[in-house]
Symmetry: C3
Subunit: 155 residues, 3 copies
């Protein structure tokens, strides 16, 4: 039975997918004490297709970048659900790291990352307000437009 966070997201048309399984010697999340570190998640949609590929400032629009960032955040939550069973167990979103596949002259990376930040605040309310670092990177796996990692405190 989904908790209140997952119900709210479902009502908004945002189902939590089965998380991606890493295809190498690492895992989607690690818990240490009451902290959960979630691996960098790419912008896969529920069908396993990347929402946007390529670089912001070149072939990807800010709007599509925001959708990609939001998809990354959904995938971060999918890892959390796999970790905890219930997203209601999250006490606080501590930090999101946002990595934007960007042309060297693209200056709107924070606007892109807002797609992820808005999603977690939608999900968790005030507990979703997080520390954040956003950078423009040279390239991402599979040419994904955005990658997001997360750190969470568990009740």
């Amino acid at each position: 039975m989904p908790g209140t966070v997952e119900k709210k997201l479902a009502e908004l048309g945002i189902p939590i997918p089965t998380p991606a399984t890493p295809v190498a010697n690492y895992v989607g999340f690690v818990r240490t004490g009451n902290l959960i570190f979630v691996s960098g998640q790419l912008c896969f949609d529920a069908e396993g297709k990347l929402v946007a590929t390529g670089k912001l400032g070149a072939t990807v629009s800010v709007e599509d970048g925001q959708k990609a960032a939001r998809a990354c955040a959904v995938n971060v939550l999918a890892q959390l659900k796999a970790a905890l069973g219930d997203l209601d167990k999250i006490a606080r979103v501590v930090r999101l790291g946002g990595f934007i596949n960007a042309a060297p002259d693209f200056l709107e990376t924070p606007k892109v990352m807002n797609g992820a930040s808005d999603l977690v605040v939608t999900a968790f309310g005030d507990k979703g307000r997080h520390a954040r670092t956003t950078i423009g990177v040279a390239v991402l796996p599979m040419d994904a437009a955005v990658e997001v990692e997360g750190l969470f405190e568990v009740t």
Copy 2:
């Protein structure tokens, strides 16, 4: 009444400014247990103007990059002061992450980041000696030359 750390910085002509307020759904810092994660801070000066914009190895000199890194570190401390009221409550600077807006052939990113490392050691002495990761990134928000994030242990 400022504590000894803030007094020392003031005597060196380094006032702690009011921290920048994030203009999106995130916050400048999050505390979890006795750790404080500070969001990536750009190189704004006390007047809210970026100390340096553009890329190291292209239009920004190493010296100006160091000044920018130092300004980032001051802004990290500003977030800490907002979090704690008194910088004397810091038990240890755990980690700084340095993101240098760099041309692909610029090899002096650690020298640039020393501007931030030196500032926190000036402020905190041995407690200021931190783990550090420095990378050259494709681009930063507003074309800032440097961004620095921080992790701190509180007494």
Copy 3:
């Protein structure tokens, strides 16, 4: 007397070197509570020479990149050994951050980073399975091909 982790690595021909000493106001690791944050380590070999310099997707092959990532991971373990004396005190590899010096069109950064992930799983077994974020960066210090940082839980 080396512990079982270090013995296993020695049998595989992977000695743990003396860790690099940072040449600035930072340190190779910081412990806070039962967490150890290890600074970003470059791909130096046991003789202090970089295993690979330059960019993946340009002058560095995936295979050489993997060797570089593995060397970074060995250097991360060297910092841990300096911190703890005995690698057997590691309860869990919590997170690795992988920074690949990459041309903007190089899409195999995860494959490169596997060189580091495989090494820590070889060393620690299931306790070595970690959260991971891999990004392609514009440039690294000394033009190193790979840099890896780590977070560990201590028993």
